[in-house]
Amino acid sequence: MWTQLCQLLFPINTLGANWNKPPTIDSLTAKPPLTAQVSLPSSVQRLDDSAITEVRVDMADMKVESRPVTLVTNVGSCVAICIHDPINKCGGLAHIMLPSSKITQHSYLPSKYADTAVPALTSAIRRAEKSNCGLTAKIAGGANMFPKLNSSTLNIGMKNVEAVKEALANKGIKLVAEDVRGTYGRRVAFNIADGSVCVKNGNGEIKKI
């Protein structure tokens, strides 16, 4: 219900909502289903701010915002990719689960994989503000939640982080800060207005990156 409400209030955020209509990666990167040119009068914007300040990004989902809200997600082995446009004050957050879309056959959500999420998120941000200026990225997550188990599949966090860095480098996006690895979960809050990312660790420690 929350997501539906958000979608009503923020028509820009339609990208992550395509659960039922699996789009191919090509169609998504070429033509993201964003109604990007929507820009509300400043009065409406202020009204929205008081109503909603935190927008949750679900697992394998991504959201792009041009309003000064905070995008929130929880990650363990997943990685939260926060890409910010400092000049137009917009940005987006993608919650990826796996390093590469090649390793599974169920690849209909681009925001599920590091290699497809970065291009999709970048083009969505560029469309939202028609900006060509330098984007900056901050990442958090990639933990190994159960270090005592010597299972290679459970240590996918490390692979996720490496894949995200590679994808960012391929797109020419500068990685300015990171809070990765470890053995605890993180609550990531990405402030669109100033591009700051507030990471709260599982043990209660709060870090601003």
């Binding site: 949750r56 697992m59 997600t73 082995s77 599920k112 188990l149 966090g157 979960g185």
Partner: protein
Amino acid sequence: MTESITQNKDTNNSIDLEIFLELGSIGAGNAATSLSEIFQEQISIQVPKIHTLPPHLVPKFYEKHDVPTTAIYMQLTGEADCDILLMFEVKEAKKIAAMMTMIPVEELDPEMEASAIEELGNIVIGSFLTALSDFTNVNLLPTPPQRTTDSFDAILDSFLIKQLLDSDMAIIFDTYFKRSDGNISGILMLFPSRKLQSVLTEKAKNWV
């Protein structure tokens, strides 16, 4: 052609669910018996719900994103793999530990709580394991239980990732631990590997 394939899938899924529900009832029955012995009073465990979901939709389904959670995790290896995860909200876990140790919640020290919860995990998960291997005749070896406390989503996501690599469905039990003076609820999740799923489906065919 495509339609018949989809239908086939559906029937397979419904068989899986039935058999899992049966397994769940047996496992829950075993667990209830051992718990009643420990607490020296009637404890009933129900398996009221069973869900199959695509793994990435599980956090959205529970809506417990930031809730501090204590989880006990056991991995079954051997002929087929299965991950079993038992989760309680932190304050519920405290209540359970207090019940088990007969010490009031305020006086409970963390080590005592941890070992009580691990023991509970052993009992509940062990009961399910017995049911599972009796039923399938598959030899399953459990790892020692692991305990962790973190936010609900963070705990879950490693398992969901692992599940995604293997299968596109997660099978989840919601269990409720019932004691005479009120409910304590926990979630028991089973993530059977594709191999175990097919073993069970095969069993179900002979069984019906």
